[in-house]
Amino acid sequence: MSLFIDVEVDASARSNADLVKKLVEVCPVNIFAASSGKLDIVDAHLDECTLCELCLNAAPPGSVKVKRLYGTKDVLVRQS
């Protein structure tokens, strides 16, 4: 279970094969994995998130959210 970071990806993004491939490629700490063209989030890697925002930039605005589970509980999300 992650203590520090949570990542949410909306349903349409999760089933978009091209986007899934892109997310898997860009994440430097392997938070995303592909399973039959669909997106899996690897819970064990969530706390390794470096807040690099590469996933936010790779996906359509608002489809990926990175949440801090500490402090102000800021949510990182790409604005349109």
Binding site: L3, F4, V29, D47, E48, T50, L51, R68, Y70, G71, T72
Partner: protein, 401 residues
């Protein structure tokens, strides 16, 4: 890296430092017998172990003929000293000694230069001479930037009042030792005792050499000449189970460094590092009266999981009451990532971060993010306005509270 006595002597021999007749290593009693026969006189046989106390443990024996030498070698080769098995047995000629001296070269960390040390009281610990007979010891620093000159060695030897032929001969030996020290990246080159025979000649009776680990690459040639595998690790004692597990933590994940641990018997676990910071912080803890449970090195941006595993390992050590997480100012390690790792390690160990982490003092990259995490978990932290020494003092104070 420590050298065996026979390796030290081989190195000294290459620079013309006289050695006892024979001075060969035997791996079997039969080989010892052959060397003793070549010497054709009384011999001394010495266990080749990287440990002190050989004489007391029975690792140094004498023989008057080759058969006795074989028997002595058999005993020595079967003898383990302080957990070390002998690499072989050194067989050398015995000769009547008129006087024993000490000469050594090492680093003076305070002066930040090498220092030569000489005494006309050899054969005993130089620390004991310095304490009880300070008039019989002299020191001379020298630069690593300037060529070494023989007059420096002469000043050293003359410092204990020697003159004439003895001064000249001993100065040449001391100069050779200083040149060996400089040429081969050594941290210690020592001859103790340096013996003077009745006929006025000198030779190295026992020698110690330590080479800086980082010098191995540049010293491959001499290591090959001496028959030393550059990859061979030589430690003062075998690694403990704690240390082996630390190395496994480090090896399991290539991201950053977290795991080079050395076990001590204190109660304050240390997660420390950064450009010499770990040594400074370790010393600071001790200066404040704290008792470190371990030494360690973290840096190069270790992953959360790696730092977490290291923290769990340190907390699993019996007697560890709290941990102190401290580094120098870091630019290549993220403060928030280390904060996550140690907090996760504490929580996965079933403990509360606010109680278990005595102090968190890592200033540098992403420190504001790190401080948010620490505040969230109620961990006491400080930034670069608090010195490493002061942070160490706060950690020790918490242990005593």
């Amino acid at each position: 890296m420590r050298f065996y006595e026979f390796e030290s002597k081989r190195l000294f021999g290459k620079y013309g430092i006289p050695l006892p007749k024979g001075s060969k290593v035997a791996a079997t009693p039969a080989e010892a017998k052959v060397v003793a026969a070549e010497i054709n006189g009384p011999v001394v046989l010495k266990s080749q172990v990287l440990s002190g106390g050989r004489m007391k443990a029975g690792g140094v024996l004498f023989a008057d003929n080759p058969d006795q030498a074989a028997e002595a070698a058999k005993k020595i080769l079967a003898l383990e000293i302080n957990g070390h098995k002998p690499r072989g047995v050194l067989v050398e000629a015995r000769a009547p000694i008129a006087q024993e001296y000490y000469v050594g070269v090492t680093w003076d960390g305070v002066a930040r230069m090498p220092v030569m040390i000489f005494s006309d009281m050899g054969g005993i610990d130089i620390e004991e001479v310095a304490e009880k007979h300070p008039g019989h010891i002299s020191k001379r620093h020298f630069s690593t930037l300037m060529p070494f000159s023989d007059f420096m060695a002469k000043e050293l030897v003359a410092g204990v009042g020697l003159s004439g032929d003895h001064l000249n001969r001993l100065s040449r030996l001391a100069a050779s030792l200083a040149r060996i020290f400089q040429a081969h990246g050594l941290t210690l080159a020592e001859i103790n005792p340096l013996a003077r025979l009745d006929d006025g000649t000198f030779f190295c009776l026992d020698g110690h050499v330590d080479m800086e680990d980082d010098a191995r690459d540049t010293q491959k040639g001499i290591l090959k000449d001496l028959g030393i595998d550059p990859e061979e690790k030589r430690q003062a004692r075998p690694p403990t189970s704690f240390e082996i597990k630390g190395a496994q933590v480090d090896a399991a994940d290539p991201r950053g460094v977290a795991g080079n641990v050395v076990e001590f018997d204190g109660d304050l676990g240390l997660v420390i590092g950064a450009g010499g910071g770990s040594l400074t912080l370790f010393d600071a803890i001790r200066k404040h009266g704290g008792k470190p449970a371990n030494y360690c090195e973290i840096g190069g941006n270790p992953s959360v999981s790696k730092t977490c595993e290291l923290t769990k390992l340190i907390l699993s050590k019996p007697g560890v009451k709290k941990i102190a997480v401290m580094m120098n100012v870091v630019s290549n390690t993220r403060v928030d990532i280390v904060a996550r790792g140690v907090i996760k390690g504490v929580i996965e160990s079933g403990q509360k971060p606010s109680e278990k982490i005595a102090i968190f003092r890592i200033p540098g990259s992403w420190e504001q993010e790190g401080f948010k995490i620490l505040e969230h978990y109620g961990v006491e932290y400080c930034d670069r306005t608090v010195s490493m020494f002061e942070a160490a003092g706060r950690a020790v104070a918490k242990m005593k509270a």
